[in-house]
């Protein structure tokens, strides 16, 4: 789970990493905080997407008038929360992160005395300037390692002392919060020689959320209401704007079906994983699909624990309850697939066995408009209403 900048920075500060002073504000409050902090100051949109600077979601403002304009623009773009920060005079930008090295089975500190937000370019053009330090994840970071990295980042002892403390604190954040990634980019060196976290990125391991209480996904974590609602059901869902609603089992198979549709010239309305722990959630899954403006629902599964007969029963149940207004293509294989075949056939659905055939059929159906009984709402907008 990726945290917002303000959440990451609050944790950084708690663990001893200096951050610029600032206030978290709704757009209507932001102008007031700008006055309080003084100009110039920085408006930082609290959204999860990367590259906020290049996307214009971070704005330095020099006076009240400019602040008002920029805040209005951000609000118009849907920004709901703004971090209003002092504009610190920057001498240099450093880079620091802690992540996991799956191959070496260790924690990995990546640092640089240059780069800052341009770190990816630096990694390509001058890889020798990227400092990599492996850390035993059981023993943790040794003080000497932090000191060694610090003196590779800067020759200035005063900066290095600060950097060593920040490295230790960031590693502590990484460990304590079960992070996939803890990153400070840029790590500012101010004109007065202080090190400050210019940004904060903290991604918490999904498998550790049970032992990391206090983090909740809110609507702001999702791009759309549909994705948020699906997540509330525990259903992985992504919104697209094509014609075929996917209702497939497992990330690998769903992604493959996604590919196959594009290979066949089709388009995807939504990605939806209906498998694993969700294999009894046919009704909820189909309801989500029906709320799309799609032309076909394509169901592809090949399950082991997620038994084919249970899935087939769920789909038949969902069709009876939701009366979908568009054709359904079903390719349900795996454990008890013979049973599943009978269930589908009894409900008047043709059981397919070959994924590519199913995809071709779904793409072909998109060209034909809807052709199933109960399709009393051709534009499909009401299809998802129970």
């Amino acid at each position: 789970m990726k945290l917002f900048e303000y959440q990451a920075k609050a944790i950084f500060q708690k663990e001893g990493i200096p951050i610029p002073s600032g206030y978290l504000a709704a757009p209507f409050e932001a102008a007031g905080f700008c006055e309080q902090i003084g100009f110039p100051c920085v408006l930082k949109s609290q959204v999860l997407q990367g590259g906020r600077g290049k996307a214009g979601l971070i704005q330095v403002v020099k006076n009240s008038a400019e602040a008002g304009t920029r805040i209005a623009e951000l609000e118009a773009r849907g920004v709901k929360t703004i971090l209003v920060e002092q504009a610190v005079p920057i001498a240099r930008e450093l880079y620091l992160s802690v992540t996991v090295d799956p191959l070496r089975a260790s924690a990995l500190i990546i640092a640089s005395g240059e780069g800052g937000v341009e770190i990816e370019d630096l990694a390509e053009t001058a890889p020798e300037k990227i400092i990599r330090e492996e850390v035993d994840i059981t023993a943790g970071l040794q003080t000497y390692q932090a000191v060694d990295i610090a003196y590779r980042m800067t020759d200035n002892p005063d900066e290095a002392r600060q950097a060593a403390k920040i490295i230790q604190a960031l590693f502590k954040v990484f460990s304590k919060y079960d992070a996939e990634l803890a990153e400070i980019n840029p790590l500012f060196v101010t004109e007065s020689g202080e090190l400050l976290a210019g940004d904060g990125k903290l991604v918490i391991d999904e498998n550790s959320m049970g032992r990391q209480p206090g983090f909740e996904r809110t609507r702001d974590h999702y791009d759309s209401d549909m994705e948020y609602e699906a997540a509330q059901e525990g259903i992985p869902y992504l919104q697209f704007d094509g014609e075929i609603s996917l209702m497939c089992a497992g990330a690998g198979l769903t992604t493959t079906v996604f590919d196959l549709i594009h290979y066949e010239g089709g388009t995807v309305a939504n990605y939806l994983e209906f498998g694993g722990p969700n294999y009894r959630k046919a009704v909820q899954a189909m309801e989500l699909c029906l709320r799309n403006d799609s032309k076909v629902i394509l169901i592809v599964t090949f399950g082991t624990i997620a038994r084919a007969d249970v899935m087939a029963e769920g789909i038949v149940d969902a069709i009876q309850r939701l009366r979908p207004n568009r054709p359904i293509v079903a390719c349900i294989r795996g454990t008890n697939e013979e049973e599943a075949k009978k269930i589908l056939e009894a409900a008047g659905i043709e059981p397919l066995y070959d994924t590519e055939e199913a995809v071709r059929k779904a793409v072909a159906l998109c060209g034909q408009g809807s052709a199933i009984s109960g399709a009393d709402d051709p534009d499909g907008r009401d299809g998802g209403e129970v």
């Binding site: 390509e124 059981t138 391991d205 550790s208 049970g210 082991t304 624990i305």
Partner: protein, 298 residues
């Protein structure tokens, strides 16, 4: 023959008394797997399909002295139960359990390296050698997938395993050993680390890798081929080619990040060492026919 597990391999099932644990233990035994004992804390003295249950792995191993068995972890009976098997001297461990915290899995992989053990998983269905034995949970009764043969299969994805394997069988082949290395971001054992076993197995003629975008495991396979560690014909299926960059679709391993980890990069790396990389599951079977025909005419 088969790699990792044979009919003789003595198996210990952690979490044997649970619903999933006992269900799949029954199937493992039906298929011919030599399940020796099981472990569930608090259930010592019970038995499951005639196999004795112990409180801890240490007790089970002590009672079955003739060689420590490999150990299939079903649902995570305890936090850190991978360490229990490792510390009891077991050298081949399949971690069916999902939801293992990332940092714990890094520790388990590090400990396994020190011990010279193989921990496969977590978040995997395990491994199966059709007609021989199974350490995990596969619907081996679906004959159009789990047919005995000469193709080794390694997979990162649960859901694609049946899909791609069915295509291998449809093309006229069968499976020597199918190894699910697990869908979590840090698997205990990586593709390239399994290759020497397939290389050494006289019954494996070729290997198919079912990869995924993200991570660098496919690139490592290419390096192993380049280094001569694996010399048999190699095919791969790689999905996610049309996935929008940065959109997270399922597994953490599927986040596209940096220069490595893209499907394009993986395809290029694998093709540069002579592997046939399919963009559709059905092509895997076709490629295998080509690869093995070529192999035979040499």
């Amino acid at each position: 023959m088969s790699i990792f597990i044979t009919r003789e391999t003595r198996v210990l099932v952690q979490g044997i008394t649970g619903k999933e644990g006992s269900f799949w233990t029954g199937h493992m035994i039906d298929m011919g797997t030599n399940v020796a004992a099981g472990v569930t804390p608090g259930k010592e003295g019970q038995s499951v399909f005639g196999r004795p249950v112990y409180h801890t792995v240490r007790r089970a191993v002590a009672e079955h002295e003739a060689g420590s068995p490999p150990c299939s972890l079903f649902h995570r009976v305890l936090p850190g139960c991978g360490f229990e098997a490792l510390d009891s001297g077991i050298k081949k461990i399949v971690t069916i359990a999902d939801g293992i915290p990332l940092h714990e899995m890094v520790q388990i992989r590090a400990a396994a390296k020190v011990e010279g053990a193989l921990v496969v998983g977590g978040n995997t269905s395990g491994c199966i050698s059709p007609g021989e034995a199974m350490l995990g949970m596969f619907p081996y009764w679906i004959d159009r997938v789990y047919r005995k043969g000469t193709i080794g299969i390694m997979t990162r994805s649960g859901s694609l395993t049946n899909e791609v394997t069915a295509m291998v069988v449809q093309a006229g082949f069968g499976v020597s050993t199918l190894m699910g290395i697990g869908g979590d971001p840090v698997p205990g054992t990586r593709f390239a680390e399994m290759l020497p076993f397939y290389e050494a197995d006289p019954e494996t003629e070729a290997v198919v890798i079912i990869g995924e975008l993200g991570g660098t495991m496919e690139e490592e396979v290419a390096e192993a081929v380049e280094a001569g560690i694996f010399t048999k014909p190699l095919a791969a299926f790689l999905g996610g080619r049309t996935a929008p960059k940065g959109k997270r679709m399922g597994h953490a391993g599927a986040i596209v990040s940096g220069g490595r980890g893209t499907v394009e990069g993986k395809v290029k790396a694998l093709e540069s060492v002579g592997a046939a990389v399919a963009d559709r599951p059905s092509k895997v079977g076709l490629f295998l026919r080509n690869l093995l025909d070529r192999g035979l005419t040499y």
